[in-house]
Symmetry: C2
Subunit: 152 residues, 2 copies
DNA sequence: GCACCTATTGATAATAATTCTCATTATCAA
DNA sequence: TTGATAATGAGAATTATTATCAATAGGTGC
């Protein structure tokens, strides 16, 4: 089942309605391989329909998250970034220097999560692994600068 | 070296000054095994010196984070929670129902991080693994309620 | 101990991200 | 086509955090 069909099914089975706005926001998310924030999604959606408000973007993202179709990441920033949920779970490394994001897979993570489930009997709804640091380029730059001071 | 001594050394080697406020905030953090947010830390510090402002708490937390003595977690909420860095890395599961936090260790996580370092040549400054879901109690409650609706 | 330089503080204004409010519009079942 | 009500847009409100700035207080040299 396509994600659009999944969305439609989830919407109808909850007594909700499919709207042009929800349709467009889903399309923007599906078309992008990046990790857009709400503002960026709003910009792209507005390009197709200038009347859509930012609040609707937030509302739809909350809905998609609740349905498990979208994940939110912090990526070392103070505001959220969003992406469609993939089949294989993956995680993010964000460079503090150049803000680039490196995605990576690591089956060991879900194994560790499973052992927590086995031990504690919890039900895990969301797994969030996020690394920050310096990519190899920014790492070299910093090394030559001999930074020792604490930067607050 | 005690954490207090570490803090003092880091402060002096950066041309900064040790103050009563910084001292108190560090003591509050060390005395607590919980994951306090800035407001809670402020409350506890005020009990010992009512003049201390919230801004100073945030400034000191930022300083301690930059020095690697304190870690900030989101714990599924929209504001930060803080704790002293421990020798052995550990992670957090937060129950959406009762807000309880379960801490757990998982050496597999740092192994996965190491393999990313080896592969990409990145320098990792911070690792953040956070799970949300329902603890065994809340899980059972939900099961008997037969919830199917999407809650936004 | 005293004075000086300037890091730090407290109080509060400002900012940023997100959520809420409410009158208006639009979906969709009958 | 109509009616009930879900959803929207615009902007106000909220929340967490950061910035501003005059007053205060570490800590170094005398």
């Amino acid at each position: 089942m396509s994600r659009e069909a999944q969305f439609l099914t989830a919407i109808h089975s909850n007594g909700l309605r499919m709207t042009r706005q929800r349709q467009l926001i889903l399309e923007v998310l599906e078309a992008s391989q990046e990790h857009l924030d709400a503002e960026a999604i709003h910009d792209r959606v507005k390009a197709r329909d200038p009347r859509i408000g930012l609040a609707t973007v937030y509302r739809t993202l909350a809905l998609l998250k609740a349905m498990g179709l979208v994940k939110e990441h912090s990526l070392g920033e103070e505001h959220g970034h969003f992406e469609m949920v993939q089949k294989v779970p993956h995680y993010h490394f964000t460079c503090i220097g150049c803000r680039q994001v490196i995605e990576f897979e690591a089956s060991a993570v879900m194994e560790a999560v499973q052992s927590l489930i086995d031990r504690e009997g919890v039900q895990v709804m969301d797994v969030h692994l996020s690394l920050t640091g310096y990519c190899s380029n920014c790492r070299e730059e910093r090394a030559t600068n001999h930074e020792v001071k604490v930067e607050v």
